[in-house]
């Protein structure tokens, strides 16, 4: 069996891994086929149907504007996954480049970059988001900038630490002694050894990203109405929590399901691919 399939088989032997895969597939399926799964327009206001409790017509009930919550949840999944994938990919790309530069570059540059990373990390995420949105106004772009600013320091640091560790390892010194260029050392000897753990850690950060999007939308700093987002549904539910609990429940459940699914999947992936990372 190839080196690639073995861990996947082992992943599917773990009950938690299977649960993770199932939940993630469910979320992706719902988001991709949202138009087929529901007949309702998630943004269509119908004043006559306000605050309807869950029923056969409206599986999760309706909100204060009479919009069908089930369809809002499905379309909200699209926003969540879109933000998660795009901003994680961007964070990874920036983090890897900066980490390699810091780890292999001159000492002063490394110190300077670490200083900037530490300073960035010392802003509490929500505070950073609040400050940014005050200036930019709420938008998905603002959400993604926040995610990148929050993720990049961590990713770059991991790559940097590992690059520094590898820099003095014998196989890198061996490559130097053979006359390999810095670019070749980074590409052939360093990158393949540092990227695996990082991708796994990044996949474990996807639930965090989803939480940031939902959280900012909950505070009204993310998507603009009437675009559906799990966070904005939760906010609608919060406004009327004393009378209509189902709106808050409808907003919270998909967040819980998605973050749990991705976390279980990520955890098992990590244990299977790289047991050394356990407990990070």
């Amino acid at each position: 069996m190839s080196e690639f399939w073995k861990p996947i088989r082992r992943l599917l032997r773990e009950p938690l891994g299977v649960l993770g895969v199932a939940l993630v597939l469910l979320v992706i399926f719902c988001a991709v086929f949202a138009d087929l799964l529901t007949a309702y327009d998630p943004t269509k206001i119908s004043p006559r149907d306000r605050f309807l409790p869950p029923s056969a017509d409206h599986w999760l009930g309706t909100d204060q504007l009479g919009r069908d919550l089930f369809s809002r949840v499905l379309y909200g999944g699209r926003i969540a996954l879109y933000v998660a994938l795009v901003s994680t990919a961007v964070s990874l790309a920036i983090g890897i480049v900066l980490g390699l530069i810091a780890g292999y570059g001159p000492r002063w540059l490394d110190n300077l970059m670490i200083l900037v990373f530490d300073a960035l990390k010392s802003f509490p995420t929500v505070m950073l988001a609040l400050a940014l949105v005050t200036l930019m106004g709420p938008s998905l772009t603002a959400v993604m900038i926040v995610v990148v600013l929050v993720n990049v320091p961590g990713y770059a640091r991991i790559i940097r630490t590992q690059t520094i560790a590898l820099k003095s390892s014998e196989f890198v010194t061996a490559a130097q002694s053979m006359g390999a260029s810095t670019a070749r050392i980074l590409r052939v000897h360093v990158l393949p050894n540092v990227i695996g753990p990082l991708v796994i850690l990044a996949s474990m950060d996807i639930p965090v990203v989803i939480a940031i999007e939902a959280g900012m939308s909950f505070l009204g700093l993310g998507v603009r109405p009437p675009t559906p987002s799990w966070g904005s549904i939760l906010n609608d539910g919060f406004a009327s929590i004393r009378d209509t609990a189902w709106i808050a429940i409808a907003g919270g459940l998909p967040i819980i399901i998605t973050t749990l699914g991705f976390t279980f999947l990520g955890e098992t992936l990590r244990d299977v691919f790289d047991p050394r990372l356990k407990g990070r």
């Binding site: 010194t173 061996a174 002694s177 260029s181 050894n193």
Partner: protein, 553 residues
């Protein structure tokens, strides 16, 4: 009287690939007040044996059959609590790694007090006893040592403290698992003396595990030889080493380079039929003709290291000005203990480390002043081998790619790469079928051969080999050294051979340089250095060299 008696012991581990039978019908006795050595190479089951005795087998291990009888008690049938009560007062242990032997966050005094936790005595009395023990292992200022923490002691000191703790409760049996392996040779002999003294004082028996035949011969009264989970031979040390009866022991003894009294170019290996090996005398070094140009010329080379933060910068001298010439076809042995600057000097010759003074010239070219381009070109002629056989291979590259790497780096396209890799793998005795393997799928000896293949790939003129036999068992070592020697003769290579192993370097090198605190204290013909060392440090080093059983019996 017998302290420990092991009969017919079988231990296996449950692994994913099925049961692994680690010990097979192991049997031996430890008489009262004797030191029994167990010798064997890595993976022979030594550690499993001691863990079985201590009742500390890993969760997936189990004792299938057999008995371990200690002072009349059957250990395999004891419950955990009773076994724990035996550990410490009756059986105790010291292990290999002195750095990790003590708890880093507790003071030495507290740890020694904890060892006596069964006593009702007041703390002051326990501390007095700790001081007494520390003094007996010759820790200076023992009273003060109690309030200090492990990181404040050197490796040798930590190992002494660990021994003091182990003997605290005056056990009947001390298990010592390679306790001196991580220490430098000069320190090792001191520790062996100390162990002998303490054994007399305490009146205990010692089970001493080592892979080092010389150490066993020096210390032990009796010896058991282990191979593949079995005790293949046992008897008194003199008897086993003088007249080994088992084939494995005979081969093992013979391929220990320390046992070759004559200097020989080729060393015996495990596959040589015992008794048939004929030493191949080292040809006398041809007189240097007038005007012969050295390949490498090192003049007063210095390397300094900067350490510490912004405000308390320190500079330490790694290499404190050394000079030597290396002629084509010549091998120079660089010996010294850890921290003596051997590796730093090697890196400086290859410009992997900047020099802070002096000069290093290769074929008349100033290595440290060449342009990046010229240096890149020069690297084809000088290659390097590193200490860790597996760690010096890029972990995610296959053997084929690793061997092809020099060709790719230097963009050599006029060869058939695949054929060249196959040829090199065959030359080093592996064969083309290894090309598809990853480094972690290789044994130490195989990985070392890959390193050799890579080092000779571009037919260099100089190979700098940093501890090329480190981490290899005696049985594999001979093969690797013979390979290097054959290649050297065939290709007319010059070599800088760095090692701490005097028994090896004696056969391999034409000349030997002894390094101490970054300086050459002595440099000269290999034979001369061994027969009539002139510097005190060289003498000390040679006397600490436990030259193997052959010299003693």
């Amino acid at each position: 009287m017998t302290v420990l008696s092991i009969k017919d012991l079988n231990v296996s581990f449950a692994t994913e690939a099925g049961d692994f039978h680690a010990l097979k019908n192991v049997a031996f006795d430890i008489p009262e007040k004797t030191i029994v050595g167990i010798v064997g190479e890595s993976g022979c089951g030594k550690s499993t044996l001691i863990n079985s005795i201590l009742g500390l087998l890993a969760d997936n291990g189990r004792i299938d059959t057999g008995s371990i009888e200690f002072e009349g008690q059957e250990l395999t049938k004891l419950d955990k609590a009773t076994m724990r009560d035996l550990r410490g007062p009756r059986i105790s242990a010291v292990f290999q790694d002195p750095m990790g032997a003590l708890n880093p966050v507790l003071s030495v005094g507290e740890q020694m007090r904890n060892v006596q936790y069964r006593d009702a005595a007041p703390n002051s009395k326990k501390d007095a006893r700790s001081v007494e023990m520390l003094e007996s292992v010759r820790i200076p200022d023992a009273q003060h040592a109690l309030s200090r923490y492990p990181h404040e002691f050197s490796g040798g000191m930590k190992q002494r403290i660990a021994i003091a703790m182990a003997l605290m409760m005056r056990p009947g049996l001390l298990i010592a698992d390679e306790p001196t392996t991580a220490l430098d040779a000069t320190l090792e002999v001191v520790m062996l003396e100390l162990l002998k003294d303490l054994q007399q004082q305490v009146g205990c028996s010692i089970l001493f595990i080592s892979h080092h035949l010389g150490v066993i011969a020096e210390l032990c009264d009796e010896v058991a030889v282990m191979y593949a989970g079995q005790v293949v031979e046992r008897g008194t040390t003199a008897q086993v080493f003088a007249k080994p009866s088992h084939d494995y022991t005979r081969r093992l003894l013979e391929c220990d380079p320390a046992n070759q009294r004559e200097r020989t170019r080729r060393l015996p290996t495990m596959s040589d039929e015992p008794g048939t090996f004929a030493p191949q005398p080292v040809p006398p070094r041809p007189a240097r003709s007038e005007g012969e140009v050295p390949l490498l010329q090192v003049r007063d080379a210095k390397v300094t290291f900067k350490s510490g933060a912004l405000f308390n910068r320190r500079t330490t001298l790694g290499v404190a000005g050394v000079s030597f010439d290396l002629y084509p076809g010549e091998t120079i042995g660089l010996v010294g203990e850890s921290g003596s600057g051997k590796t730093t000097l090697a890196r400086a010759t290859n410009r992997l480390q900047a020099i802070s003074g002096g000069s290093i010239t290769f074929e008349g070219k100033e290595v440290h002043e060449l342009s990046a381009r010229a240096m890149h070109h020069l690297r084809r002629d000088m290659s390097m081998m590193f200490q860790d056989p597996i760690g010096s291979l890029s972990p995610r590259m296959k053997v084929g790619d690793l061997v092809a790497e020099p060709f790719r780096i230097h963009r050599i396209s006029n060869v058939n790469l695949k054929r060249e890799v196959d040829r090199l793998l065959t030359v080093v005795g592996l064969g083309p079928e290894f090309a598809g393997r990853f480094p972690h799928q290789l044994s130490g000896g195989q990985a070392r051969r890959v390193g050799v293949a890579r080092a000779i790939a571009l037919s260099p003129k100089l190979i700098v080999a940093d501890e090329p036999t480190a981490g290899l068992d005696v049985s594999v070592q001979g093969g690797v050294l013979n390979l290097l020697n054959d290649l050297r003769e065939e290709m007319g290579l010059s070599m800088i051979f760095i090692t701490h192993n005097l028994n090896v370097v004696r056969h391999v090198a034409d000349r030997i340089a002894v390094m101490y605190h970054g300086e050459f204290v002595e440099i000269g013909d290999a034979e001369e250095i061994f027969d009539s060392p002139s510097h005190d440090y060289t003498k000390k080093l040679l006397s600490a060299n436990l030259a193997g059983p052959g010299h003693r019996v």
